[in-house]
């Protein structure tokens, strides 16, 4: 909510050409580019109509003429809201480094918004060179749309595409009056809690999986896990559409005794002066945030080299340190050691692989009529 949401172009194939023409017309100033994007969002409806008749006229007018090695190069980073604090520090570092190495000035267009909406914007024609989303399921959607080549995970130094991590935490009211210590407490009869809706918020799927895994990854059966998650979600009075709104509902609107949130969010909030009491359950999910180069856009725009260099840079200690400072658990080992005090060890940490990966999770749990729908139907029948 703090950053402007990006336009979601519906122009499909016709939009890139409109965009690049516009950009050229405007002399590609970073500021005017942003307003141009917004303008194009307005135009996208008419773009969609034009596209209807014209079919797929892919932009061949893109200005990606790398051979000439232009003085300046524009790249677009599309990410989700909370990473903005880190990227605002990292990008100047990279720009400086790239200038030293190549003499080229890199200008960044940055777009922050909900991870799911950002994903759709990129699929619909927002020309992102690099996407840093909240969960691999979103990146996989872009891959399914044919914009990212399969195998992007192995292209990062860590080999899994994950640039930073976090874990789930339970935020409580001051003094923790209900004595909430673990996921199990959220299923108690006298407790209510707030979580974003996993159907609308990609990020909230981590919350759901943490609850599920606290049973299934500690020796429980899937039936027991479903029973527990049903019990817990029956205690949810409000299902806001995203994590930001959930936080607002908990603090500003005073709903619920607890709030499921991410460790990085509460650390960032503490840095901004809102220290929140929270517990880190010891059976927890590793919230892995991926980064990827969007192959078809970088090839079209001739920005592959700088985009890949930027992604590689995100894994260097200096960039990882910036992620750690705003609350993300770093993936680079030396930085992880450096910040070990800030990020307490979690004894039983499981990943999405424990649930068969995102494809499986989506079809089993969140598809129409899937387990989450069954849970909500069961709660309504109680």
């Amino acid at each position: 909510m703090t950053s402007p949401r990006k336009p979601q172009g519906q122009g499909g194939q016709s939009q890139p050409s409109i965009l690049s023409q516009l950009r050229r017309g405007l002399g590609s100033k970073a500021v005017s580019r942003r307003s141009a994007l917004l303008f194009v969002a307005g135009l996208s409806l008419s773009g969609a109509i034009a596209g209807c008749g014209g079919g797929g006229n892919q932009a061949t007018t893109g200005e990606g003429n790398q051979a000439a090695a232009p003085e300046t190069i524009d790249i677009t980073l599309v990410s989700y809201a909370v990473t903005e604090a880190a990227y605002s520090k990292i990008i100047p570092l990279f720009v400086e480094k790239w200038k030293e190495e190549t003499g080229q000035t890199v200008r960044f267009d940055q777009s922050y918004g909900g991870s799911g909406s950002q994903t759709r914007a990129v699929i619909d024609g927002l020309e992102a060179d690099v996407v840093a989303l909240a969960l691999a399921a979103d990146t996989l959607q872009i891959q399914d749309a044919g914009l990212i080549e399969p195998g992007w995970e192995s292209e990062t130094p860590t080999g899994d595409g994950i640039v930073h991590k976090s874990v789930g935490v339970i935020v409580t009211r001051d003094g923790n009056p209900k004595n909430i210590q673990d996921w199990a407490d959220l299923a108690r009869d006298d407790v209510t809690f707030v979580t974003a809706n996993p159907k609308t918020s990609g990020g909230a799927r981590w919350n759901y999986l943490a609850l599920w895994g606290s049973i299934s990854e500690t020796g429980g059966t899937d039936e027991a896990a479903q029973e527990f998650v049903t019990q817990a979600f029956a205690n949810v009075p409000v299902l806001p559409k995203d994590a930001r709104e959930a936080t607002d509902v908990f603090f500003t609107q005073n709903q619920g005794d607890a709030l499921i949130n991410y460790e990085n969010e509460v650390i960032l909030a503490a840095q901004q002066g809102n220290t929140l009491p929270y517990v880190i359950p010891q059976d927890n999910i590793s919230i892995d945030n991926p980064v990827a180069v969007v192959d078809s856009y970088v090839d079209q725009r001739g920005t592959r080299e700088v985009a890949e260099a930027f992604v590689a840079f995100l894994f260097t200690p200096e960039a990882q340190r910036e992620f750690a400072k705003v609350g993300f658990r770093p993936v680079e080992e030396s930085v992880a050691e450096e910040f070990a005090d800030d990020f307490p060890e979690v004894s039983n940490l499981f990943t999405v692989d424990a649930f068969g990966g995102w494809g499986e999770i989506r079809s089993q749990h969140f598809a129409d009529g899937g387990i989450f729908d069954q849970i909500q139907t069961a709660i309504a029948r109680r």
């Binding site: 799911g116 409000v238 299902l239 129409d368 729908d373 909500q376 139907t377 309504a380």
Partner: protein, 283 residues
């Protein structure tokens, strides 16, 4: 001579037909087509990739059925409240003079201009259990924000101007002297209202109510913030569409959207017939 002229025009016939279509007509037609019909067509086209059985299955899941019920039920309540209160508001604004009237008259359009998200946050803040208004209901176990009541209030808020703004100009045309004449002939206040004031403004009331209803059905931004969005409790259909989209379930979203569209079209048709009935008083 005239015959020859007609013959000369012969080959140019198509041009003349085109020339006869006035520019305003072309503009209106193109505008409606591009702005209104094209998106509807796209929605239809997206839905027909599904076979009827799939369509029916997606359209009638228990959660979907409950959202139609909640959306149209709450919108009906909102429309009725606005019909009554809106008519009264219009009447007071037209017939009475009081300090601050111009100001009140001016801010009635505010719900049109206010971003719906702002409306939603504000409503949630004043109607939650500790909010300005919510705190007086909380002791009786009545929850306003994050319940169906909150949804209805958000819908009433966003559709408030419709009835007032359609009834106001019509009322202004009804001369107060007619009311006075009715009184002087011995009609009671109720009779005056029922037989003299109401008939000419019925079409306007129905039009405004229909618009308010349509707006309430389509409202998303403020409802999503003021509702708990829990299925079977107060989850409305537009939010379900959004959920399906976020889940990358385009067919599911399209189906719900289409069902909403069809129900709305049928209801608008019924309301139009009602309006035609209301116009029987027109001279």
């Amino acid at each position: 001579m005239t015959l020859a002229a007609a013959d000369l025009r012969g080959p140019n016939q198509p041009k003349n037909v085109l020339a006869k279509i006035s520019i305003p007509w072309i503009v209106v037609f193109a505008h409606l087509f591009i702005i209104l019909l094209f998106p509807l067509l796209a929605l239809l086209l997206q839905a027909i990739v599904l076979n009827p059985a799939q369509f029916w299955a997606l359209a009638t899941t228990p959660i979907a059925l409950s959202t139609y019920n909640i959306t149209f039920g709450t919108a009906t309540v909102a429309a009725i409240v606005n019909m009554l209160a809106g008519t009264l508001t219009a009447w007071v604004l037209v017939r009475y003079q009081f300090p601050g009237k111009r100001f009140l008259d001016g801010i009635i359009d505010l719900p049109f201009a206010l971003p719906t998200a702002v409306a939603g946050i504000t409503l949630a803040t004043i109607y939650n259990q500790s909010g300005w208004i919510g705190q007086f209901f909380a002791p009786f176990g009545i929850q306003i924000a994050f319940s169906r009541v909150g949804v209805a209030i958000a819908m009433i808020f966003v559709s408030l101007p419709f009835v007032v703004r359609t009834v106001q100009p019509v009322l202004q045309e009804v001369e107060p002297t007619i009311e006075e004449a009715a009184w002087s002939l011995g009609a009671s206040r109720f009779q005056t209202f029922w037989k003299v004031i109401l008939p000419p403004i019925i079409p306007a009331i129905l039009t405004g109510t229909a618009q308010a209803f349509a707006r309430a059905v389509g409202e998303f931004g403020s409802v999503v913030l003021v509702a708990a969005n829990v299925p079977f409790q107060d989850l409305i259909a537009p939010v379900l569409v959004f959920q399906r989209l976020e889940g990358a379930d385009i067919p599911g979203a399209t189906v719900i959207g289409l069902v909403l569209l069809l129900i709305s079209l049928v209801l608008l048709l019924i309301i139009n017939l009602l309006q035609a009935w209301g116009r029987r008083y027109d001279v």
